[in-house]
Symmetry: C2
Subunit: 409 residues, 2 copies
Amino acid sequence: MPVNLSAPDPAALHAVPGIRIGVAEAGVRKANRKDLTVVLIDEGAAVGGVFTQNRFCAAPVQVCREHLARDVGVRAMLINTGNANAGTGEDGLARTRATCIALARHLNLAPEQILPFSTGVIMEPLPIDRIEAGLPAALADASPNHWGRAAEGIMTTDTVPKAFSRQVQIDGATVTISGISKGAGMIRPNMATMLGFMGTDAKIDPSLIQPLAKALADASFNRVTIDGDTSTNDSFVVIATQKASHATITSLESAAGQALLRAMQDVARQLAQAIVRDGEGATKFITIRVEGGRDEAECRQVAYAVAHSPLVKTAFYASDPNLGRILAAVGYAGIADLDQTGIDLFLDDVHVAVKGGRNPSYREEDGQRVMKQSEITVRIVLGRGAAADTVWTCDLSHDYVSINADYRS
Amino acid sequence: MPVNLSAPDPAALHAVPGIRIGVAEAGVRKANRKDLTVVLIDEGAAVGGVFTQNRFCAAPVQVCREHLARDVGVRAMLINTGNANAGTGEDGLARTRATCIALARHLNLAPEQILPFSTGVIMEPLPIDRIEAGLPAALADASPNHWGRAAEGIMTTDTVPKAFSRQVQIDGATVTISGISKGAGMIRPNMATMLGFMGTDAKIDPSLIQPLAKALADASFNRVTIDGDTSTNDSFVVIATQKASHATITSLESAAGQALLRAMQDVARQLAQAIVRDGEGATKFITIRVEGGRDEAECRQVAYAVAHSPLVKTAFYASDPNLGRILAAVGYAGIADLDQTGIDLFLDDVHVAVKGGRNPSYREEDGQRVMKQSEITVRIVLGRGAAADTVWTCDLSHDYVSINADYRS
């Protein structure tokens, strides 16, 4: 059961002019699953992406980077689940290229105009015959109104599809933003998540698409973690189809650029948080905010240490205010000159620790009350500067172990 | 059920001349538990220790460091379970000092001659009245033959006591080494574990005791991890009572020094591995050896990334050769210029991956056979140098979650 997250209402998902989506059941790993998605993009769109920093990055990630670098105009994306095509060496690269060639033939494009994405089991050969056989059905399914279907088409261990949409006024024009994402394990994105896609019809100078993708990832996908396992396939792609009627945005610092950025960040954050809410076995959604640091980087370092601690995560699962575990994780986060006597800890509004020790007025029942909630904010004040940063995570439950002990069976 | 580890045979635990141990039930947290241990050390012993690098180190760790720095001759150690006295601020320091003063009075010593240790729940006030009330019984129990009782006296979530002993001939004299340790969660020692104590009657120059303690910890406790959570209370202390009849060892590089070091490392490694074998919920003992690195530090970095991956650990629990998860962890270990096409992976004798891809001759049933064993060696060859290092860990099971979700209740 995801934490305060339900499947999207199809009526609330707006089509993005210039983008059509088709989904098919190709039987990549299992039969009767939507496992193949094509995203068709009109000519003239600006497309940017950020990808996993895992050195064992998957073949499709390597090919995406190559194709984006060729800069010949991305016109389609091809996404399969069931197989990650990672840890597959040269053979894996050849298989990914073969699927791009196959889709390019259908669409009369160059293979370099296709971005490929794979997610699923690692170190198994990608079944290109099944993917190629599924392409006609996926292409026949293409429609501007299939964002919800696409969110289903990219699911693996996710329990609900993740799609969000909003519209924003820019210079009197209505601009649409829609996005989809998937989790639900091997989630500690480093530059991107596995997988996130956003489309907008905003008109922006093509030179802005890559900084925009990075700014969006940094404020959303790069702030979530489920198990600390950075995936081999993390990919986040932003498409701006340029179909809206406002004047071209030439700077993200302009009023129009800021309006677009804020609206897109809003959707990106919802997509990223949805991955945590539907994290494998998650029963709680935890916001970890670290304040009073010297810089944002050390705030993140502390927040991730807390977010990754199995002891902290199991305490949340048990609703047990065993909050010393949080202090212990702060202590081993790697801040060499951290002074424990400067640290305060809050659980929502409850002031748990003062200057590194238990707050004399803290009562166990107050901690217990907050720990029982499904949404909890942990606030750690380091008392050594003015910087702050936030990370979102979930608890560690029996179901996480069950899901990952059974995943391939 | 610990992995291939049973309770020590009391007859196999040798007394160390110059050390007596007494244990009592003080009711620190729960009644009817051996939870208070005193170790009495004859005058003239060399005592060294290494302690947690956690910045939130516990009050007893801070006091141990102070007392060792005073260098007035350690004559006793006082160890309680049930309460870690960590995250307790100034009040916690005062309580630890009070227990040292109480024991010093009984023994007619200075408080600075006592080393205090606490383990258990974090951020609760140490019940000094109960500890002080328990001291007479612990002192009355003192005997050279109580290493086994001491191993019981320091247990928390451990399921078996951990004690090892051996004798070694140095210059024709018999030298005895005995040690005890405890786990079983919040285990990723950084300089030491929570808790390890070793005693020997070897005669060594006092200036060697601290380098000896560090060398022993580095080869044993600093190579194990259960959950990646570095404890607030990790402490490892080595006592050399100087009672043996060989000539004083003045260098660890000498033949006698090397003989002592090897024998003590052997015991230290057994103590450290015993903690992993009895790790919370452990069903498997995993050796992770990384070879072909540029230096030992990067080998350890990779080994710990694999050892801490919840996905790798749950795959071991499930006996599922989902070995791509190991490659993914290698990839995100933080070696910025790691080339995946140089990496080989072995599971015991099974060659799983060649040059970053699946070994064409690898068969799933071979991986499955090894994964079903209770002892597994993962060997990762980075192909970029001649350095190697080894880390020991366990799997992540349902029981780990149960134990840590229920610990305080």
